[in-house]
C-alpha cells in the first residue's frame, strides 16, 4: 500500500482514529460547556471533574452493584446530572446576579473538592473498566483494523451531538432555551419558568460530561485526575470554535481532535501544544472564534 511522506499508512490511520476518538470527547465536553454557557453565561470549570465522576460512577455501578455498561450509560449521567442540578440550585443560583467570574471561581473550588474526594477514597492510580463483551474485538476495514469499541465511541458521540443540536435548534423546548439565552426577562414574562430552565440546562450540560466519562471509562483508566488536563484543552477548543456556539463546539471538537492526531504523526513534539497554537492564531485573526459572533 501507499506511503505518505515515509509514514506507514497503519500508523497514519491509527493516529487519525485516535484523533477522532479524542475529538469525540472534545466535542461532547465542549458541547456541554457551550449549552451551559449559552444560558447561564458561566464557564463550568467543574466540567472535567464531573466527566471524571461520570466515569467513576459507572465503575462503581459495575463494581459494587454489578450494573453493566449499557445501563451505566444512562444511569451515570442521570446521577451526575442530578448532582449538577443540586449544585446549580444551592451554589450557582446565589451568584447569578454577581460578576460571572465568581461562578467560574466557585466551579474551580468544586473541581478541587470533587477531585480531592475521589483521590481520598481511590488514590491516584487508575481503576480498569472492561470493554463490554458485545463491543470487544476488532473489525477489518480492509485498510486497517478498527477496534469495535473505538468505533462505537465515535458513533455515540456523533449521535449525541446531533441529538443535542436537534433538541436546541429544532424543538419547542430548544426554542424556549434560545429565547431565554437572548432575553430571560422577556421569556419569563411569557410565563416560562426560567429558573427551572436554567437548572435543567445546567443538569443537562453536566449529564453530557458524565456521558463522555462513561464512554471514556473502558478506553482510559478511571482515575481522579482524568478530567483535569483534558478540560483545559476543551476550553481552548471552545475559544477556537466560538463561545457558546453549538456548531462551533461540535465541528471544532472533532476537527481539532483530528488535527491533534495528525500532528502526532508528522511532528509528535507539538502534539500537546498544537491546539493552543491554533487558539493563539484564531485569537489573532478572529477573536470571537471561527463560528462565534462578535463578543
Amino acid at each position: 500500500m501507499f506511503e505518505l511522506l515515509g509514514i506507514p499508512p497503519q500508523a497514519l490511520f491509527g493516529q487519525v482514529l485516535l484523533g477522532l476518538i479524542n475529538g469525540s470527547f472534545y466535542a461532547v465536553l465542549s458541547l456541554g460547556l457551550a449549552v451551559i454557557f449559552g444560558l447561564l453565561n458561566i464557564i463550568n470549570f467543574a466540567h472535567g471533574a464531573l466527566y471524571m465522576m461520570g466515569a467513576f460512577v459507572s465503575w462503581m455501578l459495575l463494581t459494587y452493584l454489578g450494573i453493566p455498561f449499557w445501563f451505566a450509560l444512562v444511569i451515570s449521567p442521570i446521577i451526575v446530572g442530578a448532582l449538577g442540578m443540586v449544585i446549580e440550585r444551592t451554589m450557582l443560583r446565589p451568584l447569578h446576579e454577581l460578576d460571572h467570574l465568581y461562578s467560574l471561581l466557585l466551579t474551580f473550588g468544586l473541581t478541587l473538592v470533587i477531585t480531592g474526594v475521589f483521590q481520598n477514597f481511590y488514590g491516584v492510580s487508575g481503576k480498569p473498566y472492561p470493554i463490554p463483551a458485545a463491543l470487544s474485538g476488532v473489525m477489518n476495514l480492509g485498510f486497517m483494523f478498527l477496534p469495535i469499541y473505538r468505533g462505537f465511541i465515535i458513533v455515540m458521540a456523533v449521535i449525541v451531538c446531533f441529538a443535542t443540536w436537534f433538541l436546541i435548534e429544532k424543538t419547542r423546548l430548544g426554542s424556549y432555551l434560545r429565547a431565554a439565552t437572548e432575553n430571560p426577562e422577556m421569556v419569563s414574562a411569557f410565563g416560562i419558568n426560567v429558573p427551572l430552565l436554567v437548572t435543567l440546562t445546567y443538569g443537562f450540560g453536566v449529564a453530557l460530561s458524565a456521558f463522555a466519562g462513561v464512554l471514556a471509562a473502558p478506553v482510559y483508566s478511571v482515575n481522579p485526575v482524568m478530567g483535569n488536563d483534558l478540560i483545559i484543552v476543551v476550553f481552548a477548543v471552545i475559544v477556537i470554535g466560538g463561545m457558546g456556539s453549538i456548531m462551533g463546539a461540535i465541528i471544532g471538537g472533532f476537527s481539532l481532535g483530528l488535527v491533534e492526531g495528525l500532528t502526532k504523526v508528522f511532528y509528535p513534539e507539538a502534539s500537546t501544544t498544537i491546539i493552543f497554537i491554533i487558539m493563539a492564531l484564531v485569537l489573532l485573526f478572529k477573536p470571537s472564534g471561527i463560528f462565534g459572533r462578535e463578543v
Binding site: 473538592v113 477531585t115 475559544v239
Partner: protein
C-alpha cells in the same frame, strides 16, 4: 460622602487631569505603620519560624500581590499566572545552574523572561474580557505546562533540581538559608513597594477607572488596551520575580510551579486576603502557605479543604479578610 458622589468626584478629577486625593506620592500614615509591621515581622520571624517557611511565604505573598495588581486593580482575572511564576523559576534555575550566574542576575533574568511572556500572552489575551480572558490565559498557561513537561531543558517530570545559590554580586556567600533570607526580604520589599507605587500612581488610577467603567475611560480618550497590556506585563514580571526567587529558595523548579493548580492557588490567596486591597494578598498567601504547611500530612484532604475554602469564600466571604477589616476601620488597606 456617598460612594457614588465619591466616584463621580474622582471621575471629574481624572477628567480634568487633576489627580484624585489618594494619588499623593506620599504614603498614608496607616499604610506606613503596616509596612513597618511587615518589616518587624520579617526581622523577628526567623527567631520562631523556620526561615525556609518564611521565605516561601514571602515569595507567595509577592506572587499574590502581583496577581492582585491585575485582578483587584485592573479587573482582569488571569487563570494562567502559574505560567509566569513557573517559567521564571526555570529561567532563574537555568541561569544559576547552567550559566553559573549570581542570584541577583538570575532573578533579573527570570523577571525579564516572565515579562516578555506576559507581553506575548497579554497581547493576545487582552482582546477579550471577563470569562473569555480567564479561559484564554488558562489555555496559554497549559501550553507552557505541556512544553515544560516535554522540553529537555526543564528536566520534565523530575524538574530542575539542585539549583545553586551562587555568591551575591560574586562576593557574598548565599548558600546558607540564614544569609539568603535577607536577600529574599530585600527582593520582597522592592517588589511590594514598587507595586504600592504603581497602584498609587496616575497609571494606577487610570487602571481603577478601567476596572470601574471601561467604556467611559475609552470615551475619555485613554488607550485602554495599552494600559491593560502594561498591567499584564508588570504583573507577569513581578510574578517572575516571585518565581525566580522561589526557585533559588528551594533549589528547585518543577512542574508544580507551572501547573494550573498553582494559578488556582494564587487566585485563592487573593480571594481570601481580599481582592482589590493592597495588603490582602499577603494575608491570603500567609493563610494558604501555613495551611499547606501544617496540613501537609493529610494528603488529599488538603485539596478538599482548599476547595471548600474556595467555595465558602466565593459564596459568603467575597470581601476577604483584609477587605472586611478595612470596612470595619473605614479605611483603605
Amino acid at each position: 460622602m456617598s460612594k457614588q458622589a465619591e466616584t463621580s468626584n474622582r471621575n471629574t478629577a481624572i477628567h480634568q487631569g487633576r489627580l484624585p486625593p489618594n494619588t499623593r506620592a506620599r504614603m498614608t500614615r496607616h499604610h506606613m505603620v503596616i509596612f513597618a509591621l511587615i518589616g518587624l515581622f520579617v526581622v523577628i520571624a526567623p527567631q520562631f519560624l523556620y526561615p525556609v517557611f518564611v521565605m516561601k511565604l514571602l515569595c507567595f505573598a509577592l506572587f499574590a500581590m502581583a496577581f492582585n495588581l491585575m485582578l483587584g486593580f485592573g479587573g482582569l482575572l488571569s487563570f494562567g499566572h502559574a505560567a509566569f511564576f513557573g517559567s521564571a523559576a526555570y529561567a532563574a534555575g537555568h541561569a544559576a545552574k547552567v550559566w553559573g550566574w549570581p542570584p541577583e542576575l538570575a532573578i533579573a533574568f527570570a523577571v525579564l523572561v516572565a515579562a516578555l511572556m506576559g507581553a506575548a500572552f497579554g497581547f493576545l489575551a487582552i482582546k477579550s474580557r471577563g470569562i473569555y480572558f480567564a479561559m484564554i490565559t488558562l489555555a496559554f498557561a497549559q501550553m507552557v505546562y505541556f512544553y515544560a513537561l516535554q522540553a529537555p531543558i526543564t528536566g520534565g517530570e523530575d524538574g530542575m533540581q539542585s539549583i545553586p545559590r551562587n555568591a551575591l554580586f560574586g562576593l557574598a556567600d548565599m548558600s546558607e538559608d540564614g544569609s539568603f533570607y535577607w536577600m529574599v526580604v530585600a527582593v520582597f520589599f522592592i517588589g511590594i513597594l514598587f507595586m504600592y507605587r504603581v497602584i498609587h500612581s496616575p497609571f494606577g488610577e487610570v487602571l481603577k477607572g478601567i476596572r470601574e467603567n471601561e467604556p467611559r475611560m475609552i470615551s475619555l480618550g485613554y488607550q485602554v488596551q495599552r494600559y491593560k497590556l502594561m498591567t499584564f506585563v508588570i504583573s507577569a514580571g513581578l510574578s517572575g520575580l516571585a518565581g525566580g526567587t522561589k526557585a533559588l529558595v528551594f533549589h528547585l523548579a518543577s512542574l508544580v510551579d507551572v501547573h494550573w493548580t498553582m494559578s488556582g492557588e494564587v487566585v485563592l490567596m487573593t480571594l481570601i486576603g481580599g481582592m482589590g486591597t493592597i495588603f490582602g494578598p499577603i494575608v491570603g498567601a500567609a493563610v494558604i502557605v501555613a495551611m499547606q504547611n501544617y496540613l501537609a500530612n493529610l494528603g488529599s484532604l488538603v485539596l478538599i479543604i482548599q476547595g471548600a475554602v474556595f467555595i465558602v469564600c466565593v459564596l459568603t466571604f467575597r470581601e476577604g479578610i483584609v477587605g472586611v477589616i478595612a470596612k470595619w476601620l473605614k479605611t483603605r488597606l
